[in-house]
Symmetry: D2
Subunit: 304 residues, 4 copies
Amino acid sequence: MGYQEIIEDLYKSVKREENIGSLASFIPELGKVDPQKFGIHLITTDGRAFGVGDYEEKFSIQSIIKVPSLALAYKIMGESLWARLGYEPSGTPFNSLVQLEHDRGIPKNPLINSGALVICDILISKLENPQEDFLHFMRKASGNPTIAYSPQIAESEKSVGYRNIALCNFIKSFGNIENDPDEVLDFYFNQCSIELTCRELSEAFLFFANFGVVPSSGDRIMTGSQVKRINAIMQTCGFYDESGEFAFKVGLPGKSGVGGGIVAVHPGQYSIAVWSPVLNKKGNSYRGVKFLEQFTTRTELSIF
Amino acid sequence: MGYQEIIEDLYKSVKREENIGSLASFIPELGKVDPQKFGIHLITTDGRAFGVGDYEEKFSIQSIIKVPSLALAYKIMGESLWARLGYEPSGTPFNSLVQLEHDRGIPKNPLINSGALVICDILISKLENPQEDFLHFMRKASGNPTIAYSPQIAESEKSVGYRNIALCNFIKSFGNIENDPDEVLDFYFNQCSIELTCRELSEAFLFFANFGVVPSSGDRIMTGSQVKRINAIMQTCGFYDESGEFAFKVGLPGKSGVGGGIVAVHPGQYSIAVWSPVLNKKGNSYRGVKFLEQFTTRTELSIF
Amino acid sequence: MGYQEIIEDLYKSVKREENIGSLASFIPELGKVDPQKFGIHLITTDGRAFGVGDYEEKFSIQSIIKVPSLALAYKIMGESLWARLGYEPSGTPFNSLVQLEHDRGIPKNPLINSGALVICDILISKLENPQEDFLHFMRKASGNPTIAYSPQIAESEKSVGYRNIALCNFIKSFGNIENDPDEVLDFYFNQCSIELTCRELSEAFLFFANFGVVPSSGDRIMTGSQVKRINAIMQTCGFYDESGEFAFKVGLPGKSGVGGGIVAVHPGQYSIAVWSPVLNKKGNSYRGVKFLEQFTTRTELSIF
Amino acid sequence: MGYQEIIEDLYKSVKREENIGSLASFIPELGKVDPQKFGIHLITTDGRAFGVGDYEEKFSIQSIIKVPSLALAYKIMGESLWARLGYEPSGTPFNSLVQLEHDRGIPKNPLINSGALVICDILISKLENPQEDFLHFMRKASGNPTIAYSPQIAESEKSVGYRNIALCNFIKSFGNIENDPDEVLDFYFNQCSIELTCRELSEAFLFFANFGVVPSSGDRIMTGSQVKRINAIMQTCGFYDESGEFAFKVGLPGKSGVGGGIVAVHPGQYSIAVWSPVLNKKGNSYRGVKFLEQFTTRTELSIF
């Protein structure tokens, strides 16, 4: 059975079951999304593409952007990046602040909010026009010249972003933010506001499945070794305190966002993006996790 | 270049460099080991075997036994096992007790001490003769009828095991230990006392690289899906708070012990065991991590 | 209005109201007590005594014994005692273990379980016959030659004492327990098992209200300065994480036990003991706190 | 020996000893103060006043203002105040954020920064002109019409106030700040900027020693019961994680500030203010604590 049949089949069966959880209504704009939206798109490193459901509809990718943001900072800084943050799983969210305090402002990894704020700070220090340069990087990596920030969503997040403001100022108090916290937060909220379709998202992550090269253009975005290391970080840290569960049940490196998107890569094989905005208790897409769990079981293709 | 040349080459180059760290001298018996011991053994799923250095010398595998112990409990209990403990990375050791308190005695995963104690408790409840039955399981999985406990090492650990006694009684206070804490601790210390050579250790873990089947005997130890899930747990939780680093630098599921052993598996390919008793600050073999990092770089074979 | 009228009056009004909470049924023997028991006894430094209700009935004083135990250790060790533990309030119980870990086995103060275990360890190291010598001290301080341990209650506590076993072994793992944890725990459980009446308890604490001297015998138990300092510790640490509330509402140094007893002292004036076994959520006697709050309001005598 | 002789005597002997610690140089303006400044002023409830050293020189009272700020909020809100924050000691500073997280944004007490921010928020909600009304309250309580904010110091604190910004936004994220965090922080920094002399400070706190009445004017600021309760909070929470030590060594309710000031009250007797800007490791005036310890030892007047 080919990928198209499998994803259509699983799409139907997952859609038949109850959709359990809630929208990310703490961000006003995300609370307005139709909870029944459900799309999947898979693209292989040799160029075949498969889609089902609402895979051509844009959604807010939110924290998924932390991976490309890390990629750009890692490309610029190399291993010196790790003086500013770690690459260890973070344990429970409960401990996030006590760990920052214990580690004197050094975030555990780049895929939690504190780490992503430090990455934004690094990009501001190193790039001439951080906001534009980052978009340029995203466009090149995905072969998609239309990628842009969504001012409306960025504004919506800012209006309720007290915890991120707290985090950024807390890290600044330890000296691990170089720039003005307001500027760092502004960049961070803009990054989180990017909207992509499942197709665009799977394309934007294909170079992570292809050892650093965009298959369509042949552009090398980063070295194969760097990509492997980012995949390892996605595997161990990509799903907050559910990272172990995602490795356990799905067995692929990936990243989720509170907009209901999940992207995962199978190195050497494919990149897959799923979107369904209803979130489980840990803040990951309920149907997205379910679909991917059944998908790797059915294809018998996990990295383990 | 074949595996034998690569491991000999890396063995020599790692041995030339300084050996930085210290023995696990908090356990008296482990403090007596020659710090310069260094052995490697790799065995492929199709039966080829490669060794270098002290790979035929026995050492205390310590926490590595937590993986087979988990395997037996998972085989017996199936998914109901996860009512008693999680499969999420634990974050910093600093948080171990506060997490147990926060989670009312439910350990984060089976590869930290608290989780392994709960696994021992389960095996005591479910097996007729826990200590003998576990040895039997180990012998069958490894094809090695000589595996045995080392009373001298077990006694040595018991004499300084205050923190494990604390953990076990703390979990008992939440009701997540069913049996007498002393009995659980006795089984736990016995498990940790097992001594294997690098060759034996790589053989004992080969079924994890072979989807649940011991290649030499054709015995199925557990299902392919169960083995994948244990591999995922090794990947995210196998190296305490250095699990992210091991995934990042080595890119294979594995498990370390304070005796200086590390075992790692490449699903579908091989199992590899390394032993060098000098530990880095996180309690993992300094040369073991170094060797494996260079090994997967050289062979360009990580799962990512 | 004199003390006798006031305590009778408040006894009646508090008894009329509902008795909200539960017995300390986690210790089997304490779960068997009649929840409606209620007694009060006050004795002044100039020898006047006033009682109401069940003030001549024995009850298990439990943690209240931590104060005389501290007093004896302080008398023996002087200020060098504070190398082994602190005299700061402990914050929430939630943090007790993380604080011990953070402070490398140094308890925050002598009136929480971890601190009392360290005090027991010190007494074992310093006294020839710790168990007998401690009884002798108690008998002299209270002018009561009948004080004795209750083997039945001690046994009952031991049978469920997993958390104290955990604490003692945890502290031992940091090296801050010198003796065998089992011996320390045995002494600790024996201390907690002592039973006194309200009259006996108020008498035993009278020297804390009289600058170190037992009024009836003229015996100086410790210096005035030492007694002031122990009173300060009672004030800031005597009621677990409700110490602030007790200072706020009652305004006297005191100590509570899960047997439902509370003793408080007004320096230069009196010692008062109250007993009612139903506990509030923080583990302090519901009616005991209520009575004392109204008592200091009525007498307009708090230390503040 | 009278108060004047005692304070002069102790002033000389404390001044002869080394001054150990450092200025609060994390706030630029406070780092410019002459470290050898040392002043003391005591005023009794019956109007006698005694001063020595630099007691007529203004200094930044910093956190000491948290007590009058609490007093005004308590006067306005009564016991309903305690729905917004607690009155328990906070334990180690290490735990401050984890406690806020655990308690869902409810600070442990009004004398730590998080609690003082909530008090500021309450005053903003309840007062017509919060900044002016608070000055008015301070002027009336102290009988001193010249009390004013210091814009230069407020600005200096704002410029490095990242941790307070973090705290305020963190509490806001739990909904326990009603107003705009920037407005709350502005008021907070203004409060902390007030400068007083030792004489003025001791006068401003005299009503806490006089059951709520300003002796000179006869003005009742709050009820006797309310004052007792604030004194109890000062006793258990006034010196951060050194509150136990201050109770232990000094035995009076009091409050310190990082400007090097300490004020303490003996109910029914006197109010005393000490200023010496060199701080010990816990952030309390080194000479201030030393002087007060010897003062209560010499006068044999502690509340215990």
